[in-house]
């Protein structure tokens, strides 16, 4: 039953949400039904909303979009008995550099996602859902539309789903290129047809989200995990991981490794084992220099910090984040000045401009890093970069400001020798202002 995937699987994976990926016809409803499809929905239909939420809490599932907030707790914040309509919004904006997993969940197992959304609908007493998919993923939007159409035709969406009396409508909604729209409140503004600018919180989306109604908003992977949790039980799912970081997650490994790819691993999996065994070790036998553990916004880790289990709390303990699962591996040849500049070019481009510390901070950081990289570095630059970044932290509506500041602070603090080396080269006349 071999199927060509984007990358070869690894025998070291623990397959839960990606267990159907390699099966023929996994993207069809029949393929899904042949693999326990919609059994979890039927089971959830017999449960009370409280019991469903309790099961999700037991699973110790934490949001797979980046922030890692406990999913069950988030679900409990939505006022289910509100007389207003409730909405389920699925974040498929997938735009954190280093992250490429949600597209696989939609491409290879779209009905698993649909089932997860339906179970959330049961738990929230919600009857409408919107999958917000980044515009660049047009083929995924069309693919998801086909899956949705098939589910409607076969009675797994629409009125009286699978004869249970539960109604649910599901739609895709295309973005049009904006990292900021991955932030949940900016996403909601974008869904409402506006510029994707973050909202003041509170109120949180749980209370006043899409069209000012109670809204449950989670990442694709989070929803795709729900069927397994209901089917096998929250406790069984939690046991795959470590305390407070339940289950498995998709790890997107990229950069200087022999076998980059998306792999499913249990939470708490050793980072060095992921690099050396799952991803086949460092390319060309070179030495590891650094790892970005969960997408470009996470503080970078030096090689000597990477002997760590990959779960939310262990990574937090060493000052970084599990983020979106986008793990970027850097070898000794990487120039950290260039790397920091490339990250900052991204954030300066993507800052929505709403908050001044982010808009001005990212732009000035980019300018300083660009000048430095062009050969016009000054002795004081490392200090200034750190200081400007620290002044952005916590001073913006959304996390984009922090997302730009955190990697920069960690790079200038942990890799100041890369900056010093460049300054020394400048002094020796090896580099001129224009490079």
């Amino acid at each position: 039953m071999a199927k060509t995937l984007y990358n070869e699987p690894s025998p070291l994976e623990t397959l839960v949400i990606s267990r159907n990926f390699r099966k023929e016809g996994s993207e069809t409803l029949d393929g899904y039904l042949a693999n326990d499809g919609f059994k979890a929905f039927l089971k959830a239909r017999e449960m009370t909303p409280e019991a469903i939420i309790e099961e999700v809490k037991t699973s110790a599932l934490r949001g797979r979009g980046g922030a890692g907030f406990p999913t069950g707790l988030k679900w409990s914040f939505v006022p289910r008995t509100s007389p207003k309509p409730k909405y389920i919004v699925i974040n498929a904006d997938e735009s954190e550099p280093g992250t490429c997993k949600d597209r696989l969940l939609m491409e290879y197992d779209p009905h698993q996602l649909i089932e997860g959304i339906l179970i959330a609908g049961l738990a929230m007493d919600a009857h409408k859902g919107y999958i917000y998919i980044r515009g660049e993923y047009r083929f995924i939007i069309e693919h998801m539309n086909r899956a949705i159409e098939e589910a409607y035709k076969r009675g797994y969406l629409g009125k009286n789903i699978a004869g249970t009396g539960f109604d649910f409508d599901l739609y895709t909604h295309s973005g049009a290129g904006a990292y900021e729209c991955g932030e949940e409140t900016a996403l909601l503004d974008s869904l409402e047809g506006k510029r994707g600018v973050p909202r003041m919180k509170p109120p949180f989306p749980a209370v006043a989200g899409a069209w000012a109604c109670p809204t449950l908003l989670n990442n694709v992977e989070t929803f795709a995990t729900i069927p397994a949790i209901i089917r096998d039980g929250g406790a069984a799912y939690a046991a795959l991981g470590v305390p407070k970081s339940g289950g498995t997650r998709l790890l997107c490994i990229s950069g200087h490794v022999n076998k980059p790819g998306v792999y499913e691993v249990p939470l708490g999996y050793p980072m060095m084992k992921a690099i050396n065994e799952i991803a086949g070790g460092m390319r060309g036998g070179r030495k590891l220099k650094a790892v970005v553990p969960g997408g470009s916004s996470c503080p970078i880790l030096r090689a000597d910090e990477c002997d760590v289990p990959m779960d939310y709390d262990s990574i937090a303990k060493i000052g970084s984040m599990m983020g979106s699962g986008g793990m970027v591996v850097l070898d000794e040849t990487t120039d950290m000045v260039k790397f920091a500049l490339r990250i900052m070019r991204f954030y300066a481009h993507e800052s929505c401009g709403w908050c001044i510390p982010c808009r001005e901070g990212t732009t000035w950081l980019r300018k300083i890093l660009q000048r430095f990289d062009d050969g016009g570095g000054r002795k004081d630059d490392v200090r200034v970069l750190g200081e400007v970044s620290k002044n952005m932290l916590g001073r913006t509506f959304c996390a984009l400001g922090d997302a730009a500041a955190m990697p920069t602070i960690s790079i200038v603090e942990k890799f100041s020798e890369d900056f010093d080396k460049r300054l020394a080269m400048q002094g020796s006349g090896l580099v001129t202002i224009n490079g």
Partner: protein, 160 residues
């Protein structure tokens, strides 16, 4: 303004998908799908989307500058997007972009004289584990080596 029957059908469905009185939600998707058909976000398109979504044309106009995929001028028949974001940069994305500039003879957001190709250096497009990545219109190309890139462009040119 009217669109192809397929697009009209998509729009009819789309306007139904949002809650009563919330047609404004269709603004961004309508713009991007229509742009694909007519080539650019023209003043007429802005008027048309405003009418269909029951908002002012200014409310449509103001989103155009925000979203990087919306553009007021037509692009080449093949819009070549080369990612140079971190994962791609580490495995040759920057060099691939330089190669694309030379090969096509144009720079960032420029179009070739014959209108066949336009080029854009883009931010992360979600293909990090199969980098470097290139997207031509909506088709993804993964693990793009310099040779693969040349063959891709030559193939598109030849198909004309």
């Amino acid at each position: 303004m009217t669109f192809s029957p397929q697009l009209e059908e998509r729009f009819a469905k789309m306007l139904q998908s949002y809650p009563e009185g919330k047609k404004r939600s269709a603004v961004v998707p309508m713009l991007i799908y229509a742009q694909d058909e007519i080539g650019a976000v023209t003043p007429e398109l802005i008027e048309e989307v405003a009418k269909r979504c029951e908002v002012s044309s200014l409310q449509v106009d103001e989103v155009v500058g925000y979203y990087s995929m919306l553009h007021r001028k037509p692009q080449g028949k093949f819009h070549v997007q080369v990612c140079t974001s971190i994962s791609c940069m580490l495995v040759g994305g920057t060099e691939l972009y330089d190669q694309a500039c030379k090969k096509l003879g144009v720079g960032h957001k420029q179009t070739t004289a014959d209108g066949l190709f336009s080029l854009e250096e883009v931010e992360c497009m979600g293909a990090c584990s199969w980098a470097p990545a290139v997207e031509v219109n909506y088709d993804f190309h993964h693990n793009v080596s310099p040779e693969k890139f040349d063959a891709l462009i030559d193939g598109l040119r030849k198909a004309q």
